[in-house]
Amino acid sequence: MQPVLDISAVNKRFGALTVADAVTFSLAPGEALGIIGPNGAGKSTLFNLITGNLQVDGGRIVFDGTDVTNAPPMQRCLMGIGRTFQIPQPFVKLTVFENLLVAGTFGSRKLEAEVAARCGDILIQTGLIGRANVPAGQLSLLERKRLELARALATNPKVLLLDEIAGGLTEGECAALVGTIRDIHASGISIIWIEHVLHALNSVVERLLVLDFGKVIGMGRPNDIMASKAVREIYLGLDV
């Protein structure tokens, strides 16, 4: 089957610092892939390269059979790449519902009236329905993280990029969020998930990718990756 997202030999440098070094991987339709790595390994940068918020220095990004290496973020969103931000970026003066409405109407080029009902359904799915008409600036951290997820879903994505969406949440909040993400995955949306909360990540993803200094240093089933010597040394910082 043709991969929904194909990254080949992607490079990115900030001056002397290499943040993406010949990164190559692909994502099958409906797959959930986890990305782990120490702080500064280039994980969020990789997302910014996939969404077009940053331009690659070299390599190719193919989405759904189309080369999007030089496409602007807006166009990639329309094609079906949805993302959440590590630090939530809500439209603070708009209500939660309006946040979704923007994403729905512009992310799929439809009229507000056509997407309103779907936005309402997503608010139920993500547990935000009780806050629907509250300005997003008044939300708590958990609610802001949920809003990131809900807004990305409203763009009707084929691939969903989640950036540390479980970070900073309590055990109970985290479990609830994982449940929501499982449901989204079960509905057929492919997921790439950057996360430090490993037990949450490993309960959803089928494959793990390890990034260090912009390089892919391991990829495979979560159990195998967590057991591998390279990961334990570099990522967990253990002397083995």
Binding site: N53, L94, F97, L101, T105, E112, D121, A154
Partner: protein, 364 residues
């Protein structure tokens, strides 16, 4: 929780206060149109000033409060519009009313040309860039000998007298043509003001208006959900220039005398306008309306105190920024929740109506 029932959702924007206000607004506009029948000429001139300042304020509010484009160079479009009108009337012999429309188009064209420079700048640099552009336009037009160069010129008396409908108004009201011209420009200012507020209100309720609000709040996130931030900002910048140019031209039809220093005055056409928007409440349609009334009352009260006037204006501006950063209207609206121009999309209905604190609905 019951399963999502898509058909049950409703989106509403109406509020009761707004319905009441719309009746009041229609009444107010009707009275304003009839004003020349029962108010003095000097009051009519004051009203003209209020209306034109309100047009400028609503436009700056759209530009800065919604599109995030904080310009301090809007006097470029006021002055350019005014000069375009003077050129059409004095040199081209056109009717001043037609010239006002042409002035709007000219200002819009100027904004396209200058936009390529200023849109390369962000934030404070954008603000300074727009000011520089305005100064350049002023210096260039001050070289135009046919329109009086640096000292300026006046509109020919005949042009005002022969303006469309002036003779008709003069006969209907049995007044001299100069006063009839005041009545006509007042009506035009009223039309321009209503059209501007109506247009901005309509825009904010459309899909593009929603995208504009998203860009205002967070441009990066807006781009990530498919909003073409650049195109929306360009559209706002050019349409604001169009209306600002028309307002400038109309102001100078009424003044009938122009000079580069007055037409491109940063204090008159930008500083006062920013003051009006900031004290009233930026990012709301109601704010500039409140602001222009406060501004005008202050101007009337303090008119005899010379430079104290500007000092007090500045102090009031600072006090409001410190203690009511969302302006007088924001202060009122936050306490009461009242909005006269509601743009908020409120989600109602659906399977869990009770969660939203709204009564009624299928499972209520």
């Amino acid at each position: 929780m019951s399963a999502p029932a898509s058909s049950a959702w409703r989106v509403e924007t109406r509020t009761r206060a707004a319905t009441g206000f719309s009746v009041f607004a229609v009444l107010l506009v009707a009275i304003a149109f009839a004003a020349p029948f029962f108010v003095s000429r000097s009051l009519l001139q004051d009203l003209f000033l209020i209306l034109t300042m309100l047009v400028l304020a609503q436009n700056w509010n759209l530009l800065a409060g919604y599109a995030g484009l904080v310009s301090v160079g809007q006097q470029a479009f006021v002055g350019f519009g005014a000069y375009a009108m003077f050129a059409c009337v004095s040199l081209g012999g056109l009717d001043p009313i037609l010239a006002v429309l042409i002035a709007g188009v000219a200002a819009a064209m100027l904004s396209v040309a200058t936009g390529f420079f200023v849109f390369r700048l962000q934030g404070a640099y954008f603000a300074i860039g727009t000011w520089v552009v305005a100064e350049v336009v002023r210096l260039v037009l001050a070289q135009w000998r046919a329109l009086g160069g640096g000292t300026g010129t006046s509109l020919p008396n005949a042009a005002i007298r022969d303006m469309a409908a002036v003779q008709w108004i003069a006969e209907a009201f049995s007044v001299r043509s100069a006063q009839a011209a005041d009545i006509l420009t007042y009506w035009l200012a009223l039309i321009l003001c209503c059209a501007t507020i109506g247009f901005i209100y309509w825009l904010l309720r459309t899909r593009q208006g929603l995208g504009l609000s998203a860009v205002r709040d967070n441009q990066e996130a807006a781009r990530s959900v498919g909003v073409d931030a650049r195109r929306i900002k360009w559209a706002v910048y050019v349409s604001v220039a169009f209306v600002t140019g028309m307002a400038g031209a109309l102001i100078y039809v009424q003044k009938a005398r122009i000079s580069p220093d007055a037409a491109f005055s940063v204090v008159d056409w930008t500083a006062y306008v920013i003051f009006i928007v900031v004290i009233g409440g930026i990012g709301t349609l109601e704010g500039p309306i409140i602001g222009v009334i406060v501004f005008f009352l202050l101007q009337k009260t303090l008119a005899d105190y010379g430079s104290w006037y500007l000092l007090v204006l500045g102090l009031i501006g600072i006090a409001i920024m410190l203690f009511a950063p969302r302006g007088l209207w924001g202060l009122f609206s936050d306490r009461t929740g009242i909005q006269f121009f509601p743009v908020r999309r409120i989600l109602k209905g659906g399977p869990s109506t009770d969660h939203q604190g709204t009564r009624g609905g299928p499972h209520g």
